[in-house]
Structure formats: structure tokens, C-alpha cells
Symmetry: C2
Subunit: 323 residues, 2 copies
Amino acid sequence: MKEPLRITVTGAAGQIGYAMLFRIASGEMLGVDQPVILQLLEIPPAMNALEGVVMELQDCAFPLLRGVVSTSRPEEAFSGAEFVLLVGARPRGPGMERKDLLEANGAIFTGQGRAINDYASKNVKVLVVGNPANTNCLIAVNNAKDLRPEQFSSMTILDHNRAIALLAERTGVHITEVQDLAVWGNHSATMFPELLSATIGGTPALELVDFEWYRDKFIPTVQQRGAEIIRARGSSSAASAANAAIQHMRLWSLGTNAVTSMGTVSRGDYDITEGIVYSYPVTCSAGKIEIVKRRTLDEFCIDRLRLTENELLEERDAIKHLL
Amino acid sequence: MKEPLRITVTGAAGQIGYAMLFRIASGEMLGVDQPVILQLLEIPPAMNALEGVVMELQDCAFPLLRGVVSTSRPEEAFSGAEFVLLVGARPRGPGMERKDLLEANGAIFTGQGRAINDYASKNVKVLVVGNPANTNCLIAVNNAKDLRPEQFSSMTILDHNRAIALLAERTGVHITEVQDLAVWGNHSATMFPELLSATIGGTPALELVDFEWYRDKFIPTVQQRGAEIIRARGSSSAASAANAAIQHMRLWSLGTNAVTSMGTVSRGDYDITEGIVYSYPVTCSAGKIEIVKRRTLDEFCIDRLRLTENELLEERDAIKHLL
């Protein structure tokens, strides 16, 4: 049996954490031959609820679960972690401006970036789920000075999956027929779900759907899906976000040849400003996220890549004192 | 690729349903080579919330998920189902007596038993999770006249897992060291978690723990664990109950040589009254639940088997007009 790996989840008693932990403990993230130790971070007011979650984890008698740590101290939560899922974030409160939101989360992700730097494994992989995810990731990576930028990533696989499902439904195929779709940029209403290179059963997607549907229906629906879920459920996506986070870590760790979408620190690919955290089409191999190169982009695409890039630059400017 | 199997979940928008559906769709119940169609039943007031759950299922782009039906009509929900998880039940409201609770659930499980009989696959496997689970199962099985009693089961694996975890913690071993434990009787405060045949790393458990601890601490802690979770979490077990339900169905369907605990219609084994739904130590093979025979029981055990049997007989008497 392999040695157990330490996996940190922040905001562990929240809805996404609750939907995630049991699947990680059952082997869905790292495989059914990989024992794990869960290290759960919460803020002090949530420690009671977290205790209940820990009791339920015990009550599952998971063979792969070799230990559970629950704490409100980041240095304890991140200690020796090989995988970190930063789920906890400050949600937007009533009357809160975007700038206030960035600022409130800035404080969290500055401290967590430093604590990961100081206490996690030197090979840690960090996924930021808590919103605004790209800019929270940017703050964390800039406060983890001894780690490499490629050890940090932000989540857009949920948007990628939503785009696949919508396209499959529209064209009447099963989701496994949809390939090479990509979600670019910020995990926000400016994200760009792009179909120029996507195929459906081998046929270019844009031969099978109208351009008008793509532009006026598909793109806005993917961009607004989170809000639509809130309207239907009365609360935000939890199980589907947890599922995407598990998938992101699994693909990052175990590899994938199929194109998916992940936020990563830009090195200037596709002329995106270096240093910001931008979602690209990627594959994964040997524990590394690899941006798909030389993907065809037309003017329509490039305009949208710029638009979501500009939003990320504005977000960066709002928190530049934290970098 | 295998043909998809239809799986019905009732109370699908509730907390246990929400914790269960995504794991079923990812292949954790029937295996990663078995496509599934989810058929989700809810009461009309919960259909909006269920719509949100369905949207989130779509947003996961699960390769194994071949379709989702959401409905408030039992005949539609159970149609062609090979597996049915009866999760939805009426919880005990303020001022509600046990008899009222049995009565309120009696109406639900009478109708569902008939609908399963009329619309599900003739080989359907039915698991009752909703409480009072044993007696709800008794009602359902008695209203499914064309099906065999062994196609119905009630859930005690959650209690079994809780007992394993508690014993492992007490003796400082990993849960995989604990074998041959059993939970007998009713899923209620009279259940009997029995250690006489249990072993820890091959050594009889009762050589490693004090009898007083077993009698005065272990048994009541397992019996009261559900209430303890509610105190810690502020709501009842959801993810651990969902995990147990998935495990119950997986073991039932795919088999297990390791002893576990499941409620099944008594045929008189261990002198338990025929016809009531009683939890026994079991193994599973070829899609069948097999009661472990000739297990050693002493007077202490037999007293407790009788106690929980008597409670089940009282419950049966309270709803005998529904059988």
C-alpha cells in the first residue's frame, strides 16, 4: 500500500467542502490505491460544525482514510500537504462592492499563500476554488515566494463541464462526444467558452450549431449558469463545484490527454499579460498542467480573450498592494 | 459498454439525496463501467429544488450518466428501475407521537411498495433508508405482492460502520483491522452492535476491550450516534448516510465475503419472528443477501436480540392494517 498523502481543504465545513470530503476519502480524487490524510481548516465560528463533519467521516469507515486533522490554524492545516484545495472564501455580502470583496479575500489568501509556502510540501499542488478564484490564486501565488507559479491553479473545469453539457444537449449527443472545447480567462461573467476548435463526434462544433446561438445563447448561458443554479436551488452550486475540484486535482495529478480548462499563471501564451491567473485550454502530464499551444483563434475569439483579460487586470490593480 | 441501469432515488432533493446522487453518477455504486439513468422522485413542493439538483448533475458532465428523470409521480420514478433507494420519509415533527410517525410514513411506503410492484423491474433491489427504516421496509414489501421479500432491505450499514470506527479508535487500530462485527435488529436506539464474534487483527475483540466498556459505553454510543451528530452539525447525518446507502447497494449488487449488517425480511433465523425486517450479520453473493448462520450468541446477546425484536413487533402492530 502507498504512503498516505496529506490533503488540505479550507472552508471544510461549508457546502462545497461537505460535498467534497467524502468523495476524496473514498478515493475519487487520487485513486482507490492511495491512502489519504485530510487536514481541514475552518474559521473558529465553524469549528463545531466541522466537528460534526469529522464525526461523519469517521462514521463512513473509509479504508483509505488514514487520519483527519481539524483546525483553525493555517500552519497546522497546511503542514506537509501535497494537495491543497482553497475552498473557503468571503462571499459578497449586502452592499459590498467588488473592491471590498477583493480586499476581504485578499487578506485571507495573502495569509494562506504564506502559510502554504512555509508549511506545505515543497511539491504541493494548490487549487483555488473560492471566488474571485483567479485573483485569489494570484494573491496566494505571489505570497508563496519559495514555490513555483505552476504549483498554483484556479478552477474553471466547472464552467468547462457546463459548456460541454449545454452543447451536448443542444446537439442531442452524449457528453462524451464533445471534445476540445475550452473556457478562457476569468471565472466570472466575462469568461469565454470557445467552440472554434471544439468537435462533436469528430465534426467541428460550429458546423452543427448556428453562430448566432453560439454567440447570443451559448456563451451567456455558460457565463450566467452559476446565478441560474442559485435561482433554482436557493443556494449556490455545491456538489457540482466539489465534483469539478476533485476532477481538477485528479487530472492534474494523474494526467489527461483530453483538453480541459484550468486557470494557471500566464507566461504570455496567446499574448495574455504575464503573471495574471488566466484559464487556458490545457492537458496534464506527469503532474504538470500544459497549455495547449497554437490553437486557432479568430477575431471574435481574440476580442473575448482581451475582454476577460482586461477584467483580470482591473482585479489585479485593485489588490496590487498585496502582491 | 454495458446497457444503462435505471436507479430510483426518492426524496432526491433532500440532504441525503444531494450527498448521494453525484456519487452514484460518478460510478461509486455500481462501478465505473456501468452507465446509469437516475430517476428522481420528490414531493411537489420540492420540485424546484430538485430542478436545481438536476442542473448540477448536468453540470458535472458525468460520462456514466445517460439520463435524469425528475418527477413527483411514483409510477414514472419507479418505471423499469433495477435499483430503488427509498430515502424520502416523513420526519418526526413537534408533538408527533411515535404512532403518528409510523402512520404518516405508512401512507408513503404503502403507495411506494405498490408502485414498485407495478412499475419497477421484476428483479429490482429496494433499499429503505428513510426512518423508521425497518418498518417502512416491512410496509413496502407487504405492498409489493408480486416481488420476493429478499428484494427488499433496510439500512444498518451506517450503524455497522459507526461501530467499526468506534472500536478501531478504542483499540488504536485502523478500521480495516476490525472484522466480523454485527448490528442486529432495528435501526433505532434498541439496535444491538455485537462484538462476541468480532475480531481485531485476528484477535477476539472482547479480549482487547473491557466488557464494561462494551456494555456501558460502546453499545449506547453506537445506538445514540445519530443524535450526537445532530447536536454537533445542527442537522442529521447526510453524507455518511448517503455513503452507507451507496455501500449497501454496491455490496448487495457486486458481492462481499466480509461480514456486514443489513436489514432483511426474517425467515426465522436466530429465532426472530418470521416476516419482520430485522438487521442480521450478512454477506452478499450473486446479487443475494445471505444471513451468516450459526453465529455464537450468549445470553447477553440473546437478551438484546429479543429487546430490539420486541420493538419491531410493537411497530408492526401499530401499522398492521397496512400489511
